[in-house]
């Protein structure tokens, strides 16, 4: 699982995940997401290159969103592949964290 982070205009940070967000993938990025949650105000997680997600990966995203929300920050998920989006919606995560079909839509939601 690869994670790259890019600061964007407007105080928004883009975190790009690539690979499988399974147990091994989640454990490899948990600490980095904890750092992001504690240091960023607005975070877009770009899921376009994520091919698989299971509950441990959802937990990573949830913990990050919960930490950010608790300190007044915001988080959104962008561009999931259809099967990954199905996991997000089935799990209910999609009702707790905004999921947007494109990166631009997610950025606009955080900026609004």
């Amino acid at each position: 699982m690869e994670l790259t982070v890019e600061d964007m205009p407007g105080g928004i940070t883009r975190a790009v995940l690539a690979g499988r967000l399974d147990i091994a993938g989640a454990s490899s990025v948990d600490l980095k997401f904890s750092v992001l949650a504690g240091s960023k105000k607005a975070l877009v997680v770009d899921l376009a290159a994520v091919s698989f997600v299971a509950s441990m990966g959802l937990r990573t995203l949830l913990l990050c969103a919960r930490t950010m929300t608790a300190k007044g920050g915001r988080m959104a998920l962008a561009s999931p592949q259809p099967i990954v989006d199905q996991v997000l919606q089935t799990s209910g995560i999609g009702t707790l964290i905004g999921v947007y079909p494109t990166l631009d839509a997610a950025i606009a939601a955080l900026a609004g």
Partner: protein, 138 residues
């Protein structure tokens, strides 16, 4: 065909890969293979993280069988029984009140087309069917 699974989260990935290799060899499509992978990961994670072992260990194994309609994954264990087919799934709370777990059962039930569980003589058996014609996965 079956494969033992160590009581170690690090063995889940290889066990899922083992099942996926057999599914691919059987000509099963990518969407169904995705469903197999997610259900097997959830079932094994639940056993390794949460199930209570009896004396002698959890003794987990996974089996794969393909047929003309799809595939069946079977997970055996020697833990105290926990019927994932009947355990209530809690409603989704707010983000602030959300517990970290609970998604696994929901995913297991959604991505499999058949789910059965039985416990006999100290050994539990979870059978997960993946047959697109049954409806839930395509």
């Amino acid at each position: 065909m079956h494969r033992p699974v160590a009581e170690d989260l690090g063995d889940i990935g290889p066990a899922v890969q083992w099942a996926d290799d057999r599914a691919a060899a059987a000509g099963i499509g990518e969407t169904v293979r995705f469903a197999i992978q997610i259900c097997l990961e959830e079932a094994l994670a639940n056993l390794i993280l949460h199930a209570q072992a009896r004396a002698g260990g959890k003794d987990i194994a996974v089996g794969f069988a393909a047929d003309s309609a799809g595939a069946t994954i079977t997970v055996w264990d020697c833990c105290l029984p926990f019927n994932v087919t009947t355990t209530p799934i809690p409603a989704m709370p707010s983000l602030e009140d959300m517990q970290e777990g609970g998604q696994g059962l929901r995913l297991l039930r959604h991505f499999s087309t058949e789910l059965s569980y039985r416990s006999l003589d100290g050994r539990n058996e979870l059978r997960m069917g993946f047959r697109p014609a049954a409806g839930m996965v395509t």
